[in-house]
Amino acid sequence: MDFPADLKYTKEHEWARQEGKEVTVGITSHAQEELGDIVFLELPEVGTEVVRGKTLGVVESVKAVSDLYSPVSGRVVRVNEGLLDAPERVNEDPYGKGWMIVVETPEETGREGLLSAAEYEAFVKEEKGA
């Protein structure tokens, strides 16, 4: 399993990469593995306000439907439209070509409350063991 150190994570298995005021969001390698073949995505439109901890969209594998939760609050400024026709990119490259949206966040709502790579890895192991 893969837990890039430069990312922050949620317990709902999203990742967040902050670059200035912009945060790129996707789901983790562990999440895509658990879901299996991803065949459908529902993502918010540019301009949508997303709220940390609230649903921002839906990801579906052949068998299951899962909600996506926003790791940060802010306004959606970019959406990976290419994923809508090629959702398998989330499986193939969850931290790269499988990115989902970019959120512009006010400085103060930054990344507090998110997990570090080590914390997330420990959380996944704990969840698996349970």
Partner: protein, 372 residues
Amino acid sequence: MSLSNSSRQQRTPLFPLYARCGARVVDFHGWDLPVQFAGVMREHRAVRTDAGLFDVSHMGEIEISGPGALEFIQRLCVNDASRLADGQVQYSAMCFDDGGIVDDVTVYRFAADRFLFCVNASNRGKDLDWIRKHRPEGVEVRDLSDETALLALQGPKAEFILNRLVDLSLPGLKYYHFSRCRAGGNEVVVSRTGYTGEDGFEIFLPPEAAKELWQKIMAAGEPAGLMPAGLGARDTLRLEMKYALYGNDIDETTDPLEAGLGWITKLDKGEFFGRGAIIERSGEGPARKLVGIEVKGRGIARAGHAIWADGSEVGIVTSGTFSPTLRKAIALGYVPTPLSRPGTAVSVEIRAAKVEAEVVRTPFYRNGSIRK
């Protein structure tokens, strides 16, 4: 506080092999079964183009024998078992007196007075209760499920793979026929049947022989593209063919005619359980029908989603998935008969949004390798 669970998980004889094949194991009606190995899409594709090997040992086997066996089966089942010859298989269903379906089954004739029902795992207890409740003198009913493992080798290359492993010439075995033969040192029953729309075989064998045969089939088939396949692919494959799944598309509330099983329901063969009710309910043509639906808009219809037409809710989706072969969202569901014609526009309610859909001709997939 007690953590004990009264119902213990059941495992098939192949359970010990799952982990090393990379399986993800889930609970399926009390059984620990693999939902996937390499992934549903790859497994599905392997079955359509090469072959897949499924462990379906959880399914139940019930033997019905004795001088009155055929007569009894004629009362139990909607299809005409008198048309079976030795070594032949028939798809059939048992109904309650009210016409609701007890279970859909395959009936194997071993001899004029000896038959085997292959039944859904989730219905095994209910089926046995129903069969035993009506068992007449001179008929013996035996539950062979625990002493029977079942492998399904499915796909256009199934014959090529299995032919080398059994002392039977498989090209001579016709669709929906079976034969006893030997595989390795074991006596097995090979049946040219399946649930995928592809040519293939179901192999009944003693549980203690299952692991060895699984491994032999995998070793013989892997160079030809054979993959182990799980319940996920089994579901997408059967859905592309519109094969009904008990508990989803058919159950105690559906009669065989509305479920599209008129082709196995022989109302003129004589009396059988549920016949009168089926005629009363659907004899003039059922009020609703199970149809194939293709989602045209964005989204995947799932079991339980409402079907809408002309501003009102008209039916319900009973199975739905993304079709790996057609690359579209497909579903089965019940709609009023006037809306059941292919081409009828409907919508499916997916997460509060009404998504455009259409009743389509089935099976969804028509290029399978089954030999009729």
